[in-house]
Amino acid sequence: MSDQRGVLREGFHRFWRYQRVLWFIFFISLAFGHFSASPAIHKLDGITDHSLASQRISEMFDYGTFSALASNPEVKLFEAGGVSGGFSFVFLVGMLFLTGGILEAYRADRKLTTREFFEACGSYFWRFVRLLLLMLILVIPLAIIFGSVLSQAGKLMLDVAQEKNGFWLSLVDIIFIGFLMMCLRLWFDIAQVRAVVEEEYGMWSNAGRAFKLIFRNFRSLFWIYLRISVVGWFVFGIGVWIWTKMPPARFWSTFIVLEIVILAGFAVRLWQRSSEMVWYQRRFLIPAIVAPAPISVPPAPDPLLTIAPAVPPAPQT
């Protein structure tokens, strides 16, 4: 692991240098979030904006009032949830598209022109789609296992004699499947890095080589991924904790706090990407600089102690 010292730091520096990518993604996410809320805006404006009852939502957060509003036949708020799902899917496709440009920027470690950035996005898009499909083959069964174990844990939790077992089962499920998912993500992250750095086209073979790479360097790579993830989880936890402590009437402040949480989530993901790129480049592209063996140099003669030789030295042949 010693040869990977500073990967996180350099990864963070690259991520920071190209932070405009972060802002770009964040504002797209914010816009999509707002668009996905637009059906709700239209459903609500005629009902809440001129009603005194809405003060129970704006000045506090009375769940009963919100629940009555959400199930009001003229509102049926949660029917607008499908739009959010649709926007989330579009966002996923968008992120898949942008990943090529992001990785290219991290690879080149220089500011890409807009043209270069989007050329890279387009160039890698279909390769990444193929990688995503490959990953889904593994993610879907894991998700099914996760869901069924969680469902069993839920059943156990209904039985008081087993409720703690249910809790522990769900925790083990989350940790174990979460760990496998992280490994999967790491594997396909490296496959994406390889596709960009090595200009790979065959995604099956690329995924196979990435797997071997992960297998051989699992500890160092996972350690990089995990440490950054922990930072993300910590920020998320702190953000939500602050949110619970804020007065409900100050919802713009709470919105800012929650947006910082979202921003941090994207930042953490990009930091992971840049660190993986740094790790790969250090491992395979930059030749290791072997420090030369120290040459023992005789100490310089002390001029005060130098005694002229009695016999002149023999001429060198």
Binding site: F61, F91, F255
Partner: protein, 658 residues
Amino acid sequence: MRSPRTRCLRFFCCWWVLVAGACAAISQATQALQAPVATLADKSLSERVVAYQIDARFDDQKHTLDGTEVLTYRNLTGQPLDTFPFHLYLNAFQPTSTFMKEEHRDRPGFKWKDKYKASAEIKTLGVVNGPAEIDLSSQIKFIAPDDGNLDDRTVFQVKLPRPVAPNETVQFKITFHDQFGQVFARTGYNGDFMMGAQWFPKVGVWWQGAWNCHQFHSTTEFFADFGTFDVKLTVPQKEVVGASGVQLDEVKNNDGTKTLTFRGEDIHDFAWTAQPTFHVAEGYFNGSMGNVKIRLLMQPGHTSQTERHMRIMKETMKRFDEWYGPYPYKQITVVDPADLRAGGMEYPTLITGDTAWWMPDGLRLVEQVVEHEFGHQYWYGMVATNEFEDAWLDEGINSYTECKILDDIFGRDTSAMDLWGITESDVSQQRNGYLSMPDFDPMSRYAFKFVNGSSYGEITYGKSATVLYTLEKLIGEETLKRGLHTYFMRYRFTHPTKEDFLKTVEEVSGQNLRWYFDQAVYGTQVLDYEIFSAESDRLDWYQKNPADEKKGETMFHNMVIVHRKGDFIFPLNVLIKFDSGESAIEQWDGKDRWVRYEYNKKAKIVSAEIDPEQQVLLDKDSFNNSRVVHQNARARWKIISYWTWFAQLLSQCLSWLA
């Protein structure tokens, strides 16, 4: 050889022992009759129509119970009775029972499992006729008075060889065998936990000139006569047992079992529970009739919540005692069941709660359930209404008093939830439940005749509580409290009807409330009034070049239209506020479809609001009850901001796949 004197002495001694023994027995019997041991009263509190003596042995391995029951029935009906119906409710847990058919109908995902199967079988049934006992086992006939389902075996009847005359008593001797299933609905086992409810043959109630003995339905509860219960329960020695009434005795047997003796007085049902690992905690409530022991049986994993249970019990009992009347029993047992399907249930002097080890204080589920089930000691336990035919009288009144008491303890806005800045009141939970199915069934409908289980629940609990909250608007909160107190004191230990309750409220309030009860209790009308418009228009609107508008100088024609959208008619107050700081309160009888209020003032309308005190909770839509002239989008933006954030979070999670 013994002398005659010795014989005489021995005869005298024997005679004396016999006399003394007889006296002691008579004295004990008299004491049993006259000095209650399970209540704080100095005499019997009810008519005691029935006296059950049950000797039962529970096998914790097979989950079976074998019992003998001696039922002494006093015929206080005023007429001879020759037919007696009995409940045998464990038979509801069979796939062809009416109960299970209704479960299947109302719960699409419901699947029958053999482990739910339970049964109660009558081995012998005899009636004591003088010194002899006539075997009537062959006379047992299962009946289905509600739906004619021949496969339903939850009610049987027997015909006696001769009628029981008025004021005469009859004694039945029954041996029975129970097979419990895994807990499905409040009775049965789960692991080493056992809840024994509806476990013995229970006679029906002669009520309103006929036997009232309904089948067991998925939505219905119970109805039985008051009396005494002397129950001997033999269980393995390891078991910790809780039961209705008070425990009088415990004897350890040589076979590894113990026999516990319980006595319940002036109650109409008897339930028990057993589990070796119950954690027992005891406390006392000092009520107006004396000290009541609160016995908690907690699950080992829930001991951290013992204090929470004890606290809500004491707080609840205090308010019931002060507001509605005294709790007269010596003990109340609170069971934290090992299976949630046994939770949230009431039996006389024994209730079951509902919690989980992780339950945060801000979620008041524990308090809601414990308070509610204790409330049933009043509305069901003592005021023993017919839960089949007038379910709202126990569940509805109890939901109302639950809300009032939790409001008083935790505050109106936070009585159901106060967590992470999110709040909810208990009454808004009840109201929202009602709003989900407001117009299918009236409150007065028989419980098993509702369109489905959801409608039954939302109307019986939610609407009833909301109706009583709205009634406060008409007669005042304190008057309704007095009405409930009067109703309780007048009808405790009897079987009142809905009219008894409604007339009591009318009597106490001194108002004719029939118009309200006809709509709210007997009808399905939905109440919805709205501020249709609230506008201000300049009086000089016709002028071509009117002067600039000046606050306090320009005259406006202000107009508010209130519209009755629903078919429920209710008198209303309307509060209109003007930008001059003035306000006007209008009263409308609510009968017409709409009403218009007009004001010519040097001020413009700021807002118009129906029911400014927000007491008419029956109003379906609280958002259209007011209209603020100037738009205020804060609530909308708050919802939108959260919506946006959740959508972003969803996108972020999904983009992890990219």
